[in-house]
Amino acid sequence: MTIDASLTAAPREKVDRTARAKMLSGLSRNDRTFSLLTRAAAFFVLITLGAIFVSLISGSWLALKTFGLSFFTTESWNPVTEHFGALAPIYGTIVTSAIAMLIAVPISIGIAVFLTELCPMSLRRPIGIAIELLAGIPSIIYGIWGLFFFAPALQQYVQPELIALFAPIPGLSDLFSGPPYGIGVLTAALILAMMVLPFVTAVCRDVFDTVPPVLKEAAYGMGWTTREVVKNVVIPYTRVGIIGGVMLGLGRALGETMAVTFVIGNAHRISASILAPGTTISATIANEFTEAVGDVYTSSLIALGLILFFITFVVLALARLMLMRIEKKAGA
């Protein structure tokens, strides 16, 4: 770097003033260039988001123009007659994610409580890392594992029991009817639950750590039990953060692709039974995009992508806003 030479040499020797002026202006030019570069890179992030929206809208224009609003309300998905409606994938996406969150959230909160309140100090880090590794396992691994290990196990041991258990209960019998395929909406939801578990756990653990110890100590000092402290101090204090974490997990679940594609069965229909095969937005795109012939077909798939991006954008934005609120509270 030229600067070192100039700093040490300047005071001792007579320096050529023009050379020094040149060097200094070179330095300030470098300074400006670097600052501009970082600014450009930062704006690149904004531009990326804008470009994603613009390219998806332009790509889906044909489909939205052809089908109009009925694209969102029709269930039929027929490549032969080129008639496409997004209702079945939208329904599948929402149902799988909802079931996944119902299962994952209580377990995540349980693990987070365990990690922050109950776990012996020496085990805290290893167990925390092990749970985080679940988040590191690639989606496709959950897919192949779900298809060859989890789905057959479910088919053999769990689904027949569920069908038998709920058959006599009116209302619930439809939810668990049909033959046990193994793959299907429920299987996809369970795999999703395993995948979002580490994300929700990580957020819950972090927000539980923001609870001032003095609050908990005061509550314990009053003779409260662990359950009462968690229920009446920790969770109310961090409610916004927990909701933020849940929304973050939901954003993940909605957009999850490969694992779901393997185990959901890819059937474009809406069934009352959660044991039946279905499809989601992302699974439909992953399965059909490279084989889509015709502009309307391709455009309809891109329109699905646009819907997915819009939904996840809103969910993730809400999640961030909530997490920002609890960060402010922790900082204040």
């Binding site: 330095l27 992030v45 390219s55 749970i131 359950r227 490969m258 490279t290 798939l301 996840t312």
Partner: protein, 283 residues
Amino acid sequence: MALDLAKYRRRRLRSTITICLCWAASALGLTILAVILATLVFKGFSGLNLKVFTEMTPPPGSDGGLLNAIAGSLVMTIIGVAVGTPIGILAGTYLAEYGRHSKVSSVIRFINDILLSAPSIVTGLFVYEILVATMGHFSAIAGAAALAVLVIPTVVRTTENMLLLVPNQLREASSALGLPQSIVIRKIIYKAARAGMITGVLLAIARVSGETAPLLFTSLNNQFWSTDLNAPMASLPVVIFQYALSPYEDWQRLAWTGALLITAAVLTLSIAARYLGTSRTSK
């Protein structure tokens, strides 16, 4: 006042039940991890031999390996990371150093956090629209571009976090020596935050090397050895996807071996990243 012992016992009991449920939840989480890893090793290890690393992906019914898929994954990951990392580091630098308190930065931060967890299949569609559709064919470049788009938000986030950890006195002391801000950042702040920034890059590599969805319709797949960046290229995740869903048993076996390889690589990277991260904070 008499102590209501019955009530107290009930409260204790409910608390104990909650505690047990929390233990059970954690055990369940660990069990899932253990079962997945055990299945991978059990199913994938038997297929692991030298051929996997020296032969191309086979047609159904014959012997082969995963060489072209491994090479393709490496090439696209390297290009994607090489393109995405500098942009991510520069953007993170802007957020932490130049525009730390500006309005624009908080918007960028917000958008970046959304992009961080946005569905990767949408990234694939986006790159398809701007690169594949305009060039008229699938290519390794498009695949690498999709990975780069995924690398950027991860690197931005960790870079910013790590730069914010550098104490302000360091900045003030360097500025007091008369150093221009860009040199303070590049020669001093970056050095202080180096371990954390490397962690970020490692995590980004771990994240993209298992990504399948964005590659499905950007780099597609290729049965043969190819180094042409302008042509479709095989990648490990896409080959796993294709082979696992095929009816051929030898393809499925290769898919399991590939799955084992990729999981081993990704988990090694994330453990290395974590180790690097903690060895710095404990100092």
